[in-house]
């Protein structure tokens, strides 16, 4: 586990940082937020990857739990970043979702339907539904935690 964390885990964190910053540029976030939102995205993806490695469960369950916890981490981290930088939360949590979000799966659903593999398409469709639902739920939980943090810090 430790070995994994310092080799693949570290590499995945750097990749997620770059991907999130790049996606932030594509969404035209303010320049002074690019770096910080990159780190928020890296934290979320690392959480997901660690859970995916550690949990001894079926793939769909791992996807659900991993994305849920990662979304909570991203939501709370974006809340803190937003307060620190005095910017709306959306600037940090939307780019940070790019590694998690079921965009790749959604295109695979259509592609497999068109090329005549409905079973594969079904599998990916299930993943789209699970991931999208779980991320939305994770953000709700994060919102609640953010309110608690705000409540106790005042």
């Amino acid at each position: 586990m430790w070995h994994w964390l310092f080799t693949v885990g570290l590499l995945q964190t750097i990749l997620a940082y770059l991907a999130t910053s790049g996606f932030g540029v594509l969404l035209n976030i303010p320049r002074r937020a690019v770096n910080l939102s990159g780190w928020v995205g890296a934290a979320g993806w690392l959480t997901y990857e660690v859970l995916y490695q550690v949990l001894p469960l079926a793939i769909d369950v791992k996807l659900a739990i991993g994305n849920l916890v990662a979304a909570v981490v991203i939501g709370v981290a974006s809340g803190l970043a937003a307060r620190y930088k005095q910017m709306p939360m959306i600037i940090f949590n939307i780019p940070s979702l790019v590694p998690l979000v079921p965009g790749g799966q959604s295109y695979r659903v259509v592609r497999n339907l068109v090329t005549g593999q409905p079973q594969v398409a079904n599998q990916y469709l299930a993943q789209v539904v699970i991931i999208a639902g779980v991320i939305a739920l994770g953000f709700l939980i994060a919102e609640f935690i953010n309110r608690l943090l705000w409540h106790f810090s005042h």
Binding site: Q12, L15, A16, L18, A19, S21, G22, F23, G24, V25, L26, L27, N28, I29, P30, R31, A33, W45, M87, P88, I90, I91, I94, P95, L97, V98, P99, V101, P102, G103, G104, S106, Y107, R108, V109, V110, R111, L113, V114, T115, V128, A132, G133, I135, A136, L137, F139, L140
Partner: protein, 250 residues
């Protein structure tokens, strides 16, 4: 009457900028409610749909509508509206200043130069290909970078000049598929077309839209959430079709 008109128009403009540039419905409603409250109309009624906004001031027996035709993603504008709304709340700017500043936001806000966008598309494509699939042979990296940049460039130009929805996604994905296909015939070994495509489509794919659709539905916006989902499904379909057209030649 003059002032009520200005309050409604300013609120509508702020809401429209937020909605057109990627904010969720709940955030749009919240910001608009704050603006009307700070302008002295705490019981204003705000009704936001994905395709149009209504604001009503019951005290003045007045209401106005604004239609939303275009939806994209520009978080810089969301940030600017947020900052202005905060300054208005703390009385650092008054209502006419707020209205002028909002018009300015809608017209000219600093954006990244096109070369930066291409570089960002390259970074997103290549890093996510490696992160998702673990494939990183030189042929994979080069083809993915080329495909990602070309696909995004086509998507951006068509969106910028033609404003034809879903065609931009379709052409972008088709070019990505084409580059990957050409690479497949040029490279003898160590080539993973599926990995390259999944990386290269990441700048185009509607992942955030799907998640926002679920989030909007969960906050009780039972019309706007599913509407967003339809939009996301259509763009996923455009991308999937674009790729599928080239994938029969493997």
């Amino acid at each position: 009457m003059e002032r009520e008109n200005l309050v409604m128009q300013t609120t509508l403009l702020a809401g429209a900028i937020l909605l057109e540039n990627g904010a969720e419905i709940a955030r749009v409603e919240d910001t608009m409610q704050r603006i009307t409250t700070n302008a002295g109309y705490p019981n204003a009624q705000i009704f936001v749909l994905l395709t149009g906004i209504t604001v009503a001031l019951p005290d003045a027996a007045a209401s106005q509508v604004r239609a939303i035709h275009r939806r994209g993603m520009d978080l810089e504008k969301v940030d600017q509206v947020n900052t202005l709304s905060r300054e208005f709340a703390t009385h650092r700017i008054d209502l006419p200043e707020f209205a002028t500043a909002l018009k300015h936001v809608n017209q000219a806000v600093p954006t990244f130069p096109f070369s930066w966008l291409l570089l960002a598309a390259l970074v997103v494509s290549v890093t996510l290909m490696v992160a998702f699939t673990g494939h990183a042979t030189p042929a994979d990296l080069i083809t993915c970078a080329l495909a990602g940049v070309l696909g995004f460039a086509a998507f951006y130009w068509i969106n910028h000049f033609g404003q034809i929805r879903f065609l931009s996604e379709f052409i972008g994905a088709f070019l990505i598929g084409l580059v990957t296909l050409i690479g497949f015939y040029l490279t003898p070994t160590g080539y993973h077309p599926d990995a390259i495509i999944i990386g290269a489509v990441m700048p185009l794919v509607p992942g955030v839209a799907i998640t926002n659709a679920v989030r909007d539905t969960m906050t009780g916006n039972l019309l706007s959430g599913p509407a967003r989902a339809i939009e996301a499904i259509l763009s996923a379909a455009a991308i999937g079709l674009g790729i599928a057209l080239t994938s029969i030649f493997y």
